[in-house]
Amino acid sequence: MIYDILILGSGPAGLAAAIAARGRDKSVLVIGNPWQDSPLARAERVDNYPGLPGRTGLELLEELFRHAQALGTEFAVGRVLSLLAWNGFSLTAGSQAYQGKALVLAPGVVRQAKYPGEAEYLGRGVSYCATCDGMLYRNRPVTVVGLAPDAPQEANYLKNLGCQVVYVSPLRPDGLDGDIPCVQAGKLAVKGEQTVTGLEADGALLPCAGVFILRRAVAPTDLLPALEMEEGLIRVDRRMATNIPGVFAAGDCTGGPLQVSKAVGEGHVAALSACEYLDANP
């Protein structure tokens, strides 16, 4: 199935984009973390969303989600790990691939700087996906840097493949297999010689063949290196169009104010622009 519009991100901007695009009868797939994981879900009270004061962040999100769902939006939960702008757009989440004709980026703010050695050893021992690359590390020692809610499951999966897993995170997470040791550390660096030989965690070296760094999301510029940025934000025009034809962006990734009403408005505009693009490039 080739969707009309792929929307990356399940926060207010992504959901508003889905609602607008379904209103124009385009097929829409929203890919992202579970909507409950949006930073908005932690807001105890939102008083500046016009017309609906006093809601919790979670309530607003749930209403947006239900609205998008009722209109026939399709959803896929997962981290988008690679994206290809060629003959339309294809992207992968986990080991699943999806295709679309236009793309709306609404991933929110992806902070997290890279660790020393991470970029250098990417594909030489550094991986962002246990379910994709785990098989290549069977029966070998690996470390999992757990920065996402589903990281413990990925670590358990690696252990079941026969990897000797060490989990690294500031706190031992729920859901981690009891046999997997957890090292509590914050300052990390990937070490290697041609390929990864270990992960340095707060000065102590953990020898391993693979380092799985599992973040909440991959930064848009890592997914689309040609994407133009301006001071860390995706550069867009009034139509929410980026410099890449067919790619639009909305919400916190384009800059402040980091407010629901702004994200929703941008999502709406981005989707309508994507519809126009589709109608002009059938």
């Binding site: 690679s82 994206l83 290809l84 594909g123 994709c132 690359d133 290549l136 063949a209």
Partner: protein, 103 residues
């Protein structure tokens, strides 16, 4: 598009031509995404460079000898030696750049 096994790979490598080899597997989503890109390049460069694929499940020894630790990995060879490698999904231009520099 050539699907290499150990024998055909070694034979082609020994010929010393410019080669571009995609190490992939069936179960890998990103590999499936890159597949059509590699195929289109194989057509475009036919007669000028040898472009092929190695299934890492069927040829684990080849994958091991080139220390493949993430797929897709595309390795370029010339005069029988590795000259460059690109890891992950990339647009055709990334591969074209390396091919053109080494033709």
């Amino acid at each position: 598009m050539i699907h290499f096994n150990k024998e055909t790979f070694d034979k082609t490598l020994a010929e010393g031509k410019l080669m571009m080899v995609d190490f992939w597997a069936e179960w890998c989503g990103p590999c499936q995404m890159l597949g059509p890109v590699i195929e289109s390049l194989a057509e475009k460069y036919e007669g000028r460079a040898v472009i092929g694929k190695v299934n890492t499940d069927e040829e684990p020894d080849l994958a091991m000898s080139f220390q493949i630790s993430g797929i897709p990995t595309v390795i370029f060879f010339k005069d029988g030696k590795e000259i460059d490698r690109l890891v992950g999904v990339m647009p055709p231009d990334a591969f074209i750049q390396v091919l053109e520099q080494n033709l």
